[in-house]
């Protein structure tokens, strides 16, 4: 039986706690009284994955069973989440591949000939053939990729986009033409955290810049409180409006999956245990890993972490009408991630791990690190932020990984030119977003290489807008000072220094909360 998440109060019996910091981690002794939020332990996985998938497809929510929606001569499109999910990457076979195999088996039985598979990567980088193969599995890959029927979505391919009109608020809806013109669009998602899925899948995953700019902007993100709570997220409200229009045009059969918290395989499993329950073996593994990391060259460290494949268990799979399915999905996600927290604190501490959605097989550059901390982790709440308005955020990351020129070319210019001028999300968006979004060179790299779209760094910065608006002080522990300064933040060597620096904002004995994340958690702050 898995234990629920809980809030630890650091006392004299508490051992030092793990804090992730990029390609490494440290043991931190927090001040007495610090609250530490631990996620629930891994939920038990479904005993028979294939049976669960079959059940979901044959008994969908508010829709006919999938075999009844399939017929000979139809146009079937299967879209699926890209490499940004799950994090870290799943040990094969990927759950999306297993589901797609079931869908295709049913489609073959129904005599469907016209099938295309599209990775819903929106403005994310194109995945390589190997990455696509990892997601869909060898069988599907071999059957579709060589024929060009399995491909990455191209949001800049004007000929293959379809404008479906606007929402009541005037938001453009422009998505993949193939998806829009299909008789049935099956979407296969991995609902790793509460922000994923629902109308965000098709409405954002298969959309172009023209459509995305309506909700991916500083103003919307500041009003998304939080974007892990779709009922209180302006971004999701917009996605829902868009999704409802899409639903009128395209028949969408949504398949959502939820995973448990089994992130770290052996011998890294100590990273997801509660520290005081570490066995001698866990302590030895930790010490060995720390020593190894301290001497390993950066490349080897990168390889050690990025080669890690998680052994997630499937906790649920639901299929059918988007909103009905998503409600069921969120129940499971909340069961796995939700922790009740009483009240806000003055300081929020978060350790940024080595991977985020946009640096799989890549490097976590300073902008992505900011997005992870002030975006994803800060927004891991329901109700109200874990830190009070005007409080301080302390983040751990060295900010020294630099930029991956292949994946993040526009990030370099964003960092060198845009951030040098202003770090205010609203200001930089207003002034530079259009220019980056329409830059022909970035567009070329996005379409033909493996680069994120030119506008993508702006989105990362908007992701952090709510946090920047909410807190008065952001301090990075162990970070490169110059880099932190460029981002508009300060750097400290130790937690004690950071607290000292924050004392001007929150006083000398602030209340502190540390999010013990990963594994993923969602703080329900009352």
């Amino acid at each position: 039986m898995s234990r629920p998440g809980f809030v630890l109060e650091v006392d004299d019996r508490t051992p030092p706690l793990i804090v992730h910091e990029g390609l490494g981690f440290r043991l931190e002794s927090f001040p007495l009284g610090t609250r530490v939020i631990y996620p629930p332990e891994s939920l038990p996985a479904v005993p028979d994955v294939d049976q669960a998938i079959r059940d979901a497809l044959l008994h969908p929510q508010d829709m006919d069973p999938l075999p009844e929606l399939l017929f000979a001569g139809m146009k079937l499109t299967i879209a699926f989440d890209d490499i940004s999910l799950p994090l870290p990457t799943m040990r094969p076979p990927d759950i999306r591949g297993r589901i797609i195999e079931h869908v295709l088996t049913m489609a073959a039985e129904a005599g469907v000939d016209d099938v295309e598979l599209i990775a819903a990567n929106a403005l994310h980088r194109r995945m390589t053939a190997a990455e696509l193969k990892h997601i869909v599995g060898e069988r599907v890959f071999r059957s579709f990729y060589p024929q060009g029927k399995l491909y990455n979505f191209d949001a800049e391919d004007r000929d293959n986009l379809s404008h479906l009109g606007t929402t009541e608020k005037g938001e453009d809806i422009e998505i993949s033409k193939r998806a829009a013109e299909s008789d049935l669009l099956v979407y296969v998602n991995v609902n790793l955290v509460a922000m994923d899925g629902g109308h965000k899948s098709v409405g954002i995953g298969l959309a172009s810049y023209k459509s995305l700019r309506h909700h991916h902007n500083a103003k919307t993100m500041v009003q998304s409180r939080s974007f892990m709570d779709h009922k209180h997220s302006a971004m999701h409200h917009s996605a829902w409006r868009i999704g409802r229009v899409i639903k009128d045009t395209v028949k969408v059969f949504q398949i959502e999956t939820t995973l448990n918290n089994d992130i770290f395989p052996k011998p890294y499993d100590f990273l997801q245990k509660r520290e005081w329950e570490w066995s001698l073996k866990d302590q030895a593994s930790m010490l060995a890993m720390r020593r190894g990391l301290s001497v390993a060259p950066p490349k080897l460290k990168h390889k050690m972490f990025h080669d890690l494949r998680s052994v997630y268990g499937l906790t649920g799979v639901n299929a059918g009408e988007v909103e009905a399915v998503h409600a069921k999905t969120l129940e499971k996600v909340h069961e796995q991630h939700l922790v009740e927290v009483q009240g806000q604190s003055d300081v929020l501490v978060m350790g940024i791990p080595y991977v985020g959605p946009y640096n799989v097989n890549s490097s976590l550059n300073p902008i992505l690190a900011t997005c992870m901390g002030l975006g994803y982790y800060f927004n891991s709440y329901l109700g109200q932020p874990v830190v009070r308005k005007g409080g301080a955020v302390i983040l751990y990351h060295p900010l020294n990984e630099g930029f991956n020129q292949l994946h993040h070319p526009s990030y370099v210019d964003f960092y060198e030119e845009v951030l040098a001028e202003s770090t205010d999300p609203a200001v930089v968006g207003e002034k530079y977003e259009q220019q980056f979004a329409e830059d022909p060179w970035y567009r070329h790299l996005y379409r033909t290489s493996h680069a994120y779209h030119g506008v993508h760094p702006f989105y990362m910065w908007y992701w952090a807008a709510h946090a920047m608006d909410h807190v008065d002080e952001v301090i990075w522990v162990g970070a490169d000072r110059k880099v932190a300064a460029r981002l508009g933040f300060r750097a400290a060597t130790t937690l004690a220094d950071a607290l000292e620096m924050a004392s001007g904002t929150v006083g000398s004995s602030p209340s502190i909360t540390y999010l013990h994340n990963p594994p993923h958690l969602l703080a329900h702050v009352k």
Partner: protein, 310 residues
């Protein structure tokens, strides 16, 4: 060798050794206690500990290791051993429990022939939770596991008694937190009644002062301990366990009184029912602890007379 690697490694090991209390029992943060999973009781078989090779090994460990070490750290005054001449083994030694020193004190106070045939009932969840702790306590003290929370054990105390071994039982079930005696459980009385063996009450003082809970080595200065064996008690043919158990407790209380005062005074007080309550006075906790932190005074001088010193 990279000196940074070595230095960092040493710092890490130090931090972990301190944080995870190497060599001591791990602790759970108070706010996490309610989430500690129920311990699966792993039962380590202990029959081997009462066979010849183990007995021989224990003899060496106790005589060569434990006894000299014990005597070097504390001083013990033993009284009342003559009662053992008047009983035939096996018996059940029932004592108050205030410290980890209690067990070595009782064992090392016993005459050798008694000590070699005496086993100690020890909490399964504390002394038998890991194999090395189990083997250690078995070799050192001849312990066998009993379940404090009620459960099935590999060897029941009854079997050990039936094999002719005397038992040491601490009916309080755990060490006192303030040095005063706690509530006695019925187990010892039940066993004595069931197997028809006499109970020898044992009272000792000073172990709490020398090494209370939370301390893992006796305090400096060779503290004084006293131990007193009382007249054997036998349950009457019509006496129930419920009637017998308080009699054992009273006997231990009276022995404690005797240890503090004199045999005659204690006898008179016992007769008039005014034996001081062994659970201690109902005063502020600090006063209870304060009183118990004082070692009992020894009759004999603690060291050679100064006159004989050069």
């Amino acid at each position: 060798m990279n000196s940074g690697l070595v230095k960092g490694g040493i710092a890490d090991v130090k931090q972990v050794a301190r944080g995870w209390r190497w060599g001591r029992r791990p602790q759970v943060p108070r706010s996490a206690e309610q989430w500690v999973p129920a311990n699966k009781s792993t039962v380590f078989r202990s029959e081997w500990s009462r066979r010849r090779p183990a007995i021989a090994a224990r003899e060496v460990v106790q005589k060569v290791g434990l006894e000299p070490l014990f005597r070097s750290q504390v001083r013990a005054k033993v009284e009342g051993l003559d009662v053992l001449d008047r009983v035939e083994g096996p018996v059940i030694f029932v004592a108050n429990h205030a410290s980890h020193l209690d067990t070595p004190l009782i064992l090392l106070s016993l005459p050798d022939e008694w000590r070699r045939r005496t086993a100690v009932a020890a909490a399964a969840d504390y002394f038998f939770d890991t194999w090395w702790r189990a083997v250690g306590s078995v070799l050192l003290f001849n312990t066998f596991p009993i379940d404090r929370r009620g459960g099935v054990m590999a060897a029941t105390p009854g079997e050990v008694l039936a094999d002719g071994w005397s038992l040491v039982i601490f009916p309080e079930g755990t060490r006192s937190t303030d040095g005063w005696m706690g509530k006695f459980r019925m187990g010892a009385a039940f066993l004595a009644k069931e197997y028809g063996v006499p109970v020898v009450p044992v009272a000792h003082r000073g172990t709490f002062a020398a090494m209370p809970r939370g301390q893992n080595w006796p305090a400096r200065g060779r503290r004084q301990l006293t131990i007193r064996f009382g007249e054997p008690l036998v349950a009457g043919p019509d006496e129930s366990v419920r009637e017998f158990a308080p009699r054992i407790k009273d006997a231990v209380a009276s022995l404690l009184d005797e240890d503090k005062s004199t045999w005659w005074d204690a006898k008179r007080r016992a007769a008039s029912g005014t034996t001081p309550d062994p659970t201690g006075p109902q005063v502020a906790q600090w006063r209870r602890v304060w009183e118990q932190t004082e070692s009992p005074a020894a009759d004999a001088p603690s060291r050679k007379l100064t006159a004989w010193r050069r």
